[in-house]
């Protein structure tokens, strides 16, 4: 039996169900909306497991599910050495979001990462501590800034309402996921530079779960 992990609620679940339906496999929740069990029609030997999107990387790594749907951002942030643990079978064309670095809109002199690096250096000299970037994507942001040779900053953890941290004076900049940029604009923030990562919902295969033949048969059934 192949276990397929799918986000358990919201648009991500609905769009995942649509994506599979277009490929002839009907996924649905069993019973009431509150029950986290699922039904699969149109494919043999596949069980649907409804999970929080954030837990899917961990379940794939442990091999407790054979296939899983989650965002590229979560895989890369939560699974160090991700290529050793999962294989990307298909980008699914929805759940698009960019991980971006944003600064206050009022910083007229900040038009790119070079400006940002200089501002960080000035800020540290002026305030006696490193410029703070609020984020929950610590590994991705740190690796990116290190590759871009930006110094003089520190990350502060923010698990929600990250756009509010600048106005609340707990950070000078933020790194977060955005799809339309509306929340950024509402909080008077602007994006600088290209995205740190472009993310979308992706169907992934677990290396640890094995059963390669059965998984391949199901992938063939989906036309992948």
């Amino acid at each position: 039996m192949i276990r397929l992990g799918v986000p358990s609620k919201g648009r991500l679940m609905e769009q995942t169900f649509d994506w599979f339906a277009e490929r002839g496999v009907r996924l649905s929740r069993a019973g009431s909306d509150r029950e986290y069990a699922g039904r699969v029609e149109g494919a043999e030997n596949v069980a649907l497991v409804l999970l929080s999107a954030g837990e899917i990387p961990r379940e794939l790594r442990a091999g407790r599910i054979h296939l899983g749907v989650t965002g590229t951002d979560l895989i890369r942030e939560k699974l160090p050495g991700w290529r050793s643990h999962v294989e990307e079978l298909a980008p699914m064309g929805f759940g698009h979001a960019d991980l971006i670095l944003a600064v206050p809109d009022c910083w007229a002199d900040c038009e790119g990462l070079d400006d940002f690096a200089t501002i960080a250096r000035d800020f540290r000299a002026e305030h006696g501590f490193r410029l703070r970037i609020a984020t929950k994507y610590h590994r991705l942001v740190r690796a990116w800034l290190s590759a871009e040779e930006v110094a003089d900053y520190q990350l502060v953890d923010s698990q929600g309402a990250t756009e509010g941290t600048v106005a609340n004076l707990t950070a000078e900049a933020i790194a977060d996921i955005t799809s339309s940029g509306e929340t950024l604009r509402a909080n008077h923030l602007k994006i600088i530079s290209t995205p740190i990562l472009r993310s979308q919902a992706t169907l992934l295969r677990s290396v640890a779960a094995g059963d390669a033949d059965a998984v391949q048969a199901f992938a063939d059934r989906l036309g992948l």
Partner: protein
């Protein structure tokens, strides 16, 4: 591989450090995180194990010995002072996209020696100690000098602001190269519109204005003549057996007189090493050596690397870190030079005996 054998090699190194006049110290395993994070930045947060103490706040499992040893010296030491230590350090080995087949240890021994002294022979003393101790292993010894590079940057005919920017980024090669390229060309004037958005955040309006003023002043700067870029590139590229490197540096000092002092200091250091019986032809002087280390050393740097083990870190590293000691000394300048050996790698190479 047994921990006891590594520990025994560590003790052997420690005995040699004690014989060289060092007092043994034993810093705590749990260190206050704030000082380390402020000094090393996110580099260390990515590598160190940070945890929470209800009373002491954020604490870190010792990622290196230098900071606690400097602090200990500042509380009750008088120069000259020599300290040695042996103990575990803890570093996360956060992998990239692929999990390595043989992950490096996240917990390993370091044996170290630190010398606080206003003594012209301090660099040579420390290097010679490490060199003689590690001699049986046939390692590749490399040396560099960050102060020499910084003197060369200070010598560039540039505005103070430009020079400060280059000095700040000397450890970040691509950012440094980009700045140098920008300073060599005609700066493009930049116009910033007045922000429409309401002001927000801790960075003040006047801070932004100061930077804009600086940029406007910079637009009037003359380009750095190409000959200076060429001289700097020649300096950064010097990588040869130490006596040959010294000859090349002396030649270059005719064109960059401001490095003469650092070059002659290197000459004296090499002579001191030779007087201690070290064949200086066997030491490689790589001018850019210290640019690849953490932002930490600001004088001599050195490393001892096991050839044929490309995936290993150096068996021993060290250098002069006056600036770091000055930051920790809160104004009190303490000339400091030291280094560490990894007993675990010495063990894998068959030990010192």
């Amino acid at each position: 591989m047994s921990k006891r054998e590594k520990q025994a090699i560590g003790q052997q190194i420690l005995a040699a450090f004690r014989a060289a006049g060092a007092e043994e110290v034993a810093p705590d395993l749990l260190l206050p995180a704030e000082t380390l994070l402020d000094l090393y930045g996110e580099d260390i947060r990515a590598r160190a194990y940070v945890t929470q103490d209800p009373i002491r706040g954020e604490v870190m499992l010792r990622p290196d010995f230098t900071v606690p040893v400097v602090q200990m010296h500042m509380q009750n030491g008088a120069e000259p002072a020599r300290y040695c230590y042996l103990g575990e350090v803890f570093r996360k080995q956060d992998q990239g996209e692929l999990q390595p087949e043989h992950p490096r240890d996240n917990e390993y021994l370091q044996a170290g020696f630190e010398l606080f002294a206003r003594d012209a022979e301090a660099d040579a003393e420390v290097f010679a100690l490490f060199h003689s101790l590690l001699a049986p292993l046939g390692l590749r010894a490399s040396m560099g000098d960050m102060d020499l590079l910084m003197d060369a940057v200070r010598a560039l005919p540039l505005s103070g602001a430009r020079r400060a920017a280059l000095l700040h980024h000397i450890w970040r090669p691509r950012r440094f190269a980009r700045l140098l390229a920008r300073f060599s060309g005609q700066p493009e004037p930049r116009n910033f519109s007045q922000p429409i958005a309401p002001w927000s955040g801790l960075r003040g309006r006047e801070e932004m204005q100061r930077r804009i003023d600086r940029l406007q002043a910079d637009a009037g700067e003359l380009p750095l003549p190409a000959i200076w870029v060429a001289r700097l590139e020649r300096l950064f590229a010097i990588d040869a057996p130490a006596p040959e490197a010294l000859r090349q540096l002396r030649e270059l000092a005719a064109e960059i007189p401001d490095i003469s002092e650092a070059v002659e200091r290197l000459g004296r250091n090499l002579a001191l090493l030779a007087a201690r019986g070290i064949d200086t032809d066997g030491i490689r002087f790589d001018a850019s050596h210290g640019r690849h280390t953490m932002e930490y050393y600001d004088g001599m740097t050195f490393s001892f690397v096991a050839e044929g083990h490309a995936d290993w870190p150096p068996v021993a590293t060290g250098g002069r870190y006056d600036a770091l000691a000055a930051v920790l000394g809160q104004g009190r300048a303490i000339p400091a030079v030291g280094g560490i050996i990894r007993p675990g790698l010495v063990h894998e190479l068959g030990g010192l005996a």
